[in-house]
Amino acid sequence: MAETITLWVGGLLTLMIFSFLYKDNPYYKFAEHLFVGVSAAYWMVVAFWTTFIPNLIAYLYPPSMGWFAANPNEAKVVIDNLHALEWWQRWGRLVPLILGLMMLTRLLPRASWISRWPMAFIIGFSAGTNLTRYLQSDFIAQIRATLIPLVVVGADGFSLGATITNLVIVGGVLTALVYFFFSKEHKGWFGGTARVGIWVLMVAFGAAFGYTVMARISLLIGRMNFMGRWIESVF
């Protein structure tokens, strides 16, 4: 019975969403609003139970874990572990609590300026911590991967295939970098090199486009299989 209801709800909602391909209509609007509303509520509940309670309330007041427990013995272990923590590990959680409360001052027009402080803190923290991370993963790693010999001579002698591959990699990276130069007009030899760079990018985009379209087709096939099961269940 439960599977039948799932099939019918899923099948009807899928048809409602697909009806958008014809034009915007009340069925699509219903499915859209249902999806947005349910998911917004779902994520609020997830955030409450996976962030607010375990990362804040449990640390500030460990006995609160007993309130949610069906099995008190299980909760006792967690409560004892929380009590065993250093004081700063528990009460340090007051800092994000205060920052969160400062965010809520947005609801008070005369005190809303206070909310800019936690925002500034989070943006500054994100920018600072991301700097070295991106440098390592996107910049240094790219340099490392491009420092390759232009002519490859292996144990079996000269390798034409590997040499062409390396030349394409190094040449492609250099010409694409020229395209991203903003200090010089793209004219003359510089413009020609930048044009080669944009061609390299477009060829890469074309390959990625085709690859992803294939993945999307497989998603569509999966949905069609579901619709097939639904129709089978009707007849």
Binding site: S39, N55, A127, T132, L147, I148
Partner: protein
Amino acid sequence: MKASDTVKGGGLAILLSFIDVGLAVAQEAVGSSATPDTRLFNPQRANTLMVVAIFFGSVLFFMRETRRGRYLFIRRIAGLEAADEAIGRATEMGRPVLYIPGIMDVDNIQTIASMVILTDISKRTATFDVPVIVPLNQPFLVPLAEESVKEGCLRAGRPDAFIRDNIRYLSSEQFAFTAGVTGIMNREKPMANFFLGAFFAESLIISEVGFATGAIQIAGTANVHQLPFFVAACDYTLIGEEFFAASAYLSKDPQLLGTLKGADLTKALLMAILVIGSFLAWAGLNGLGRFFAAGG
């Protein structure tokens, strides 16, 4: 056992697992028997320090130059030149502008860059008295987007142009957000769509619907896998660093232009390193490669 007990038990199991993971991390930090090695400098990361020093050094140099009144040339970026055209079209048609700063939270650098651009776009829309609708995927972005739009309106001398209801949190669920955005596109018919930020699988859906509504579309992202879709479905696409250059380009702020120049100088040095390194690797000398491989 009552049904409510089962629910409570299931909820607790998930909750306890989260706390246990947190505790394990904390205990590891406190109770580990490893001997700490306190060093101010990790030689394995010298390559990162070198890049940071070159980048910040050149940025500071060019910022000082701009303060001294030196003119810094920046080439034309077609996608950004088209921003005024797109907003102008929306003005003529009496339709709003749609601005989506991606679907990632504020801890993503693209979202931060997008918020800076939003200020400038809002300044332009406020000047032309066109409303800008900002659908959001993350709740924390609501106050940030509000501040950005408000700031843009203030810079235009039109604080009354700020409409709080146009900054809309839809859902944190990726495709529920996408459905909401396509609904806005169909019902409010924005004539200029800006998709600037970190996008994922929803990129093609929203840009296709925007194309179908006849809007001028300008997209920009550093998510390489989504660029092909924007290139295919939008009028202009800012590729990678063009997107990060947008805030400096649009505002023409001399100090921000200094950062662009600094980044260009870093790129020139990087190209020199690549060329020299490749020739050295050809000759069997891999010292440069090992230097950049350290700490990775």
